[in-house]
Assembly symmetry: C2
Homo-oligomer: 257 residues x 2
């Protein structure tokens, strides 16, 4: 019998119709579930996929990374073509390659970038409405930028964790939060880069920054929120449709085969 080989894929999906990345019991409507079902049909053996991380129901991806092991020496191009032939039109594999057997898409990820898009005009753009949060309010972008700077660094982000039963460390490093105005000034794009994000962490940060932008919180209060280590201290959880996993990065030594 041939040895198993490790395949890494780069994925896009519009998460609108799905219950998120992670597979769920019987009534499965997840990205992971769709991929595994197709690979299992292709190989005749159960295949398990590791994603770089879960994305919640309704969240999108421009550059999700996942890996899986197959025996049989499949050509990576053929695997990609097979997947794209049977995947629904809102999920696409952009790249497939063989990687070292040691590669693990979640454990080896060194940084992730999420982008959150907020429509501040009273009416959402009809063509991009599925990937933007239709807030319909203008925000104080300068105050949001100052607040965003305070949220960066290495901190205990317990106040920004949506999982109350989280038992592992809630310390993470957020390298950068950029706040950019696009399309004139009717689209606000928040770009988060960090070594990892807790459950709902980006969406709670977005909700908190929106409250700063509305003048409901001061930018200086970010320090107290972090210190509180209490979910109640932070703002609301922004809805999933504005969020997109843009990029996952790995160390150079994991890029090789």
């Amino acid at each position: 019998m041939s040895e198993k080989q490790n395949y890494r894929i780069l994925l896009q999906y519009e998460g609108t119709r799905y219950d998120g990345w992670q597979k769920q019991g019987n009534t499965d409507n997840t990205i992971q579930g769709r991929l595994e079902a197709i690979l299992t049909r292709m190989t005749g053996d159960p295949v398990e996929i590791q994603g770089s991380g879960r994305t919640d129901a309704g969240v999108h991806a421009l550059g999700q990374v996942a890996n899986f092991h197959l025996k049989g020496g499949y050509d990576p191009e053929a695997v990609m073509e097979y997947l794209n032939r049977y995947l629904p039109e809102d999920i696409a594999v952009l790249r497939c390659e063989r990687v070292s057997n040691r590669f693990h898409s979640r454990l080896n990820a060194v940084s992730k970038t999420y982008v959150y898009q907020i429509e501040t005009a009273p009416r959402r753009d009809v063509f991009t409405r599925r990937v933007q949060y239709g807030l319909g309010q203008h925000l104080d972008v300068e105050a949001m930028r100052k607040a965003a700077r305070l949220l960066c660094g290495t901190h205990d982000y317990k106040s920004f964790c949506g999982n109350k039963k989280m038992k592992k460390s809630t310390v993470r490093t957020v390298h950068a939060i950029e706040v950019a105005q696009k399309r004139g000034d009717t689209l606000l794009e928040l770009r988060f880069t960090g070594n990892g994000f807790l459950q709902h962490m980006v969406r709670i940060m977005v909700g908190t920054l929106i409250e700063v932008g509305r003048g409901q919180r001061t930018w200086q209060s970010m320090t107290q929120i972090l210190e509180a280590e209490d979910r109640q201290a932070a703002g609301y959880t922004a809805p999933p449709e504005g969020l997109c996993l843009a990029e996952v990065r790995y160390n150079m030594d994991m890029e090789g085969k």
Copy 2:
């Protein structure tokens, strides 16, 4: 009783779910029908809307223009807000203003610009798939540009007319057809500007240009197609989802109020 006033609106729509612009009898699922129903409810009187032109089922608009007459001295901002409150999320009014009573969105239009987007990569982008034709084939862009140049000018475009029973003149002026590669070279954008377009004319031109890009026709053959004045001489009708009415222009003297 107050006199009627003329209102002009600028509209966006994702045409995917609709049977085109023009109102149809009983089972109405058109853009015009949606707009008229809301305005009729607002005013209590039947309102008729004139569009700058019909768009086919499945065709989109970034800048459709329409006008209608209302009595009662409605504030244009209030009309726009009312429309946007009741319109479905794939139709949006971007602007509403009072114009001269002489203004007619179809009769006074002096030029229109349509954009047709073709995905040439094997897999469509998941986020833009509703507004692009997923051809999945690379095309000879230089040959298409040469062919496009021959299709410009003032000609009888009968070969590019989808309506066999067309009794009026089929002479039109096409000012420009630009062929641009975007997103690396996986997206081809064809931009048509002219004083008017016959039924399906843009989509038949696109189908014919694609056949040139595939090497099934020479770019020089465009001259013979025009001379034939026969729909059979031209190529296939490209599907509606790639087409978008981008802009309608009016004479300066029609811009005033």
